[in-house]
């Protein structure tokens, strides 16, 4: 093994941990906030049970606007907010703030799209049986769209693995941070290759796991 790699090995483990931390926080925020937001977008949409055009347009506009920001700009623009929430603007916890802000509308849109695949008639049948909105969300929409939702989460995880690497630019830590500090600034090509290889492996694992789970859950 090359000297450069041996030298960063202890840091590598920390970096991997930081990447998972950022991904974990970002994805949790996406599921907990973006998920309900996506369901709400769907329900407010034309012809759905909470059909409300003004509310849908406002919500949709907010989602689009946040998604318009290039991630690196969002990262910098949110520094003051990050300081308030995380107490600092560097490190993986701080980087999780812009990551979450970007992940929430992204996932909301993916959720809205997945749920649209649920046939209208099935939702109607649930209404005819006297199900409440909340019961329809959990027992019909989430259940019927679950494999699509898992695939949406997989897409999100892969995107945000690379977003978390961008966070390395502002000292966010993680695998991307390592790649920039050693691979790029110090011209250590072997470290660069190692980090990229690591990211490739992670992406493959995430995608494979997502596909397998989605397939298992799909009874259609």
């Amino acid at each position: 093994m090359s000297e450069n790699i041996l030298a960063i090995l202890p840091e590598l483990w920390v970096a991997i941990g930081q990447t998972f931390l950022m991904l974990g926080i970002g994805l949790s925020a996406a599921i907990l906030v973006g998920g309900p937001l996506g369901v709400l977008l769907f329900l407010l949409g034309p012809g759905q049970s909470l059909d409300n055009r003004p509310a849908y347009l406002v919500l949709s506009w907010i989602v689009n606007t946040v998604r318009s920001f290039p991630f690196i700009i969002l990262l910098v623009a949110l520094v003051p907010v990050t300081r308030v929430i995380a107490g600092t603007s560097i490190g993986p916890l701080a980087a999780s703030v812009p990551l979450s802000v970007a992940a929430i509308p992204y996932f909301a849109r993916l959720v809205e799209q997945s749920i649209r695949e649920v046939p209208r008639g099935v939702i109607e049948a649930a209404h005819a049986m006297g199900a409440s909105e909340l019961q329809i969300v959990w027992r019909v929409l989430v259940r019927e769209a679950r494999s699509g939702l898992i695939l949406a989460l997989t897409v999100l995880a892969v995107s945000f693995l690379s977003y978390s690497a961008i966070a390395g630019v502002v000292g966010g830590g993680g695998i991307g941070d390592l790649a920039i500090r050693y691979g790029y600034y110090r011209f250590q090509t072997d470290v660069m290759l190692l980090t990229v290889a690591l990211l490739i492996v992670l992406v493959q694992i995430i995608q494979f796991g997502g596909n397998a789970l989605a397939h298992r859950l799909d009874r259609r």
């Binding site: 209404h127 027992r139 799909d218 009874r219």
Partner: protein, 280 residues
């Protein structure tokens, strides 16, 4: 049974001058149902027939308020559904089962979970009670052995049977059927209709069925209402051959009946003659 004659005379379902207008995608208004009044007596099989676009499906969907009428009242079992709160309406809907042309089963739920679905929505039935009721309903439709299968593993007829079992689970008084056999072949249609008739006769569930197939009306209905362009043009008992029919569909239905009777008679004659006469 009922000492109060006015009560026993009141129909299970009463539509009072209901109207519904839809806005078409191009912005024009389309009057799907124009001030229709209709009574449906308890325990009968009621057919709503008409050409496509006549408003029969919309009228059916008003009975459980899947379509809320723009004007008029919908009374089921004496309650005006249009005046109920959301919560009351949800409770009332338990007493009104519904099946659809496309079955509308949950694809990611097993047959058991599909039939249990309406039972888990309201109140606090125990696990054992739910399971017993699911098995009971699957027995009625003859699908107990498919309890752990998923809808994708069933044929069209079996899916519709699961849908019927699901609709029956909460002990409804009424079963609304929206073109229930239009996606099925002739053979399957016949057996699904047999099941529906049995549900009507054995369990006393009032059935309202929308169909464009005259053979379905002939096989199942006691009473028919004919709709044209959103208006009720005629209603009659299927067995009543004396009163002349006014609508085209009504006349076609009468002819269909005559045709069926002749065919039956003919078949009986062939049978009676036996194989010897055929050889000759």
């Amino acid at each position: 049974m009922n000492s109060n004659p006015s009560l026993s005379a009141s129909p299970l379902i009463r539509l009072e001058a209901v109207s519904k207008t839809f806005t078409l995608p191009d912005g024009r208004a389309f009057e799907a149902v124009k001030s229709v009044s209709l009574d449906m007596a308890e325990g009968r099989v009621f057919g709503l027939i008409g050409k496509s676009g006549a408003g029969k499906s919309t009228l059916l969907r008003m009975i459980n308020l899947l379509e809320r009428p723009d004007a008029g009242r919908v009374l089921v079992d004496g309650r005006d559904l249009t005046r109920l709160s959301k919560r009351e309406l949800r409770e009332t809907r338990q007493g009104i089962g519904m099946i659809f042309q496309q079955f509308n089963l949950l694809q990611n739920a097993s047959v058991y979970e599909n039939v249990a679905f309406p039972l888990k929505l309201h109140g606090n039935r125990g696990r054992a009670a739910i399971e017993a009721r699911v098995r009971e309903c699957l027995e009625v439709v003859g699908l107990t052995e498919k309890i752990h299968n998923y809808p994708a593993q069933l044929s069209g007829g079996q899916k519709q049977r699961v849908a019927i079992a699901r609709a029956l689970a909460p002990h409804p008084k009424v079963l609304l059927c929206d073109e229930p056999t239009s996606a099925l072949d002739t053979e399957t249609t016949r057996s699904v209709l047999d099941t529906l008739r049995e549900i009507n006769q054995r369990l006393g569930v009032t059935i309202v069925i929308v169909t464009h197939e005259l053979s379905v009306v002939h096989a199942l209905c006691d009473h028919v209402a004919v709709l044209e362009n959103g208006q009720l043009v005629e209603r009659f008992d299927v067995d009543d051959h004396a009163t002349p029919r006014v609508s085209t569909l009504g006349r076609e239905l009468a002819q269909e009946q005559v045709r069926e009777d002749i065919l039956k008679e003919h078949a009986a004659r062939i049978e009676a003659a036996g194989p010897t006469s055929q050889a000759a």
